[in-house]
Subunit: 174 residues, 2 copies
DNA sequence: AAACCGATATATCAATTTGATACATTTAAT
DNA sequence: ATTAAATGTATCAAATTGATATATCGGTTT
């Protein structure tokens, strides 16, 4: 995923590795972390694959500037087009770059993702009912308050995401 | 963190590696993943450190049962006592085991975490105001709708967490 | 009883990632 | 002119991932 984030950031113009990391921290840093140990090897792989060009700056500096190639741009946009899935917060990463995506695919993917969220919510609501009933029969149900709470957390979380994506599909004020 | 989750799960009674992984998936799996490649080495480390005991089952099976030692129990509870921090969802992991923690420390840690969440919310509200004003001055501000959306997502997320922890401090129905 | 299948169980491995540190240069401030 | 802070790349041991290999158990079918 480091590779796609790097490509996405370089879409705006050529950047150094240091700048890419800084921008990532300031923007998607809330839910995505990258380290130099993963970034620099990723940049090298991208250059080797012809998706980025590497340019040494003429002044004596140790600095290298990376720019995206046509192939890299295509590769990035193909990734962006793929359906949203919440695996490792990839959906939020893609969302950050969604201004680059054409409206039609964007809307289709957002709606599909929202439906999958709705399914998740339904499944968790059912589970909640079952667990509540099982718990009701225990004499010491207070002893499981926190253990059970993470299920409620998950439900709250999915509901929040669902509400957020609803607003976004309607392009409401967020 | 695999080590602490394993200890926490074995607190209930002896389990095989396979069972530990299954229980983790079914309970904290929503926000924490473990693979065999990290679990089995972790179990070996815990045995070597004297925090778990390993027992080969007498029937011909390839199965090993792990049980927690007094030292392991102490080590686990020390970890649980430490302040909650949202690094890599560690706070949710600890929360799942919070029934094991004494009420006084539990309340103190929950309140401290809630305050840090409130600080985060305040900082993000300020940032939001600044970004909104900057955006207002751009002619093509619609081109940054999704880019900006991740900031709103973050804010929503923190607000949801804050509301959730408020309910939990008051031990309300969740 | 034999064959079969899905679940249970542990182990291993290349590739990747983390978190830390080392080291050099550039910019800004004193 | 000197220092401190920020910018910049590189590297490494240790940990993790995601996948695969291998074997056994319990239950069902033929």
């Amino acid at each position: 995923m480091v590779e796609y984030v790097s490509l996405g950031i370089v879409m705006e113009g050529q950047k150094s590795g240091y700048e890419i990391k800084k921008i990532a921290e300031q923007t998607v840093g809330l839910f995505f972390k990258m380290s130099y140990g993963s970034l620099y090897p990723a940049l090298n792989r991208l250059v080797a694959a012809g998706r980025l060009t590497e340019e040494e700056t003429n002044n004596s500096k140790n600095k290298k500037l990376y720019a995206i190639t046509e192939q890299g741009r295509g590769h990035f946009l193909e990734w962006l087009k793929e359906p949203l899935q919440s695996n490792r917060r990839e959906h939020l990463l893609k969302l950050f770059f969604y201004d680059y995506l054409e409206e039609e695919i964007r809307k289709r993917n957002l709606q599909a993702f929202q439906h999958s969220l709705q399914n998740g919510i339904s499944r968790m609501e059912s589970l909640k009912t079952i667990v509540s009933k099982e718990l009701e029969q225990l004499p010491n149900k207070d002893d499981y308050y926190y253990r059970v709470s993470v299920m409620h957390y998950g439900l709250q979380f999915f509901k929040m995401e669902h509400a957020f994506f609803t607003k976004m599909i309607d392009k409401e004020e967020l």
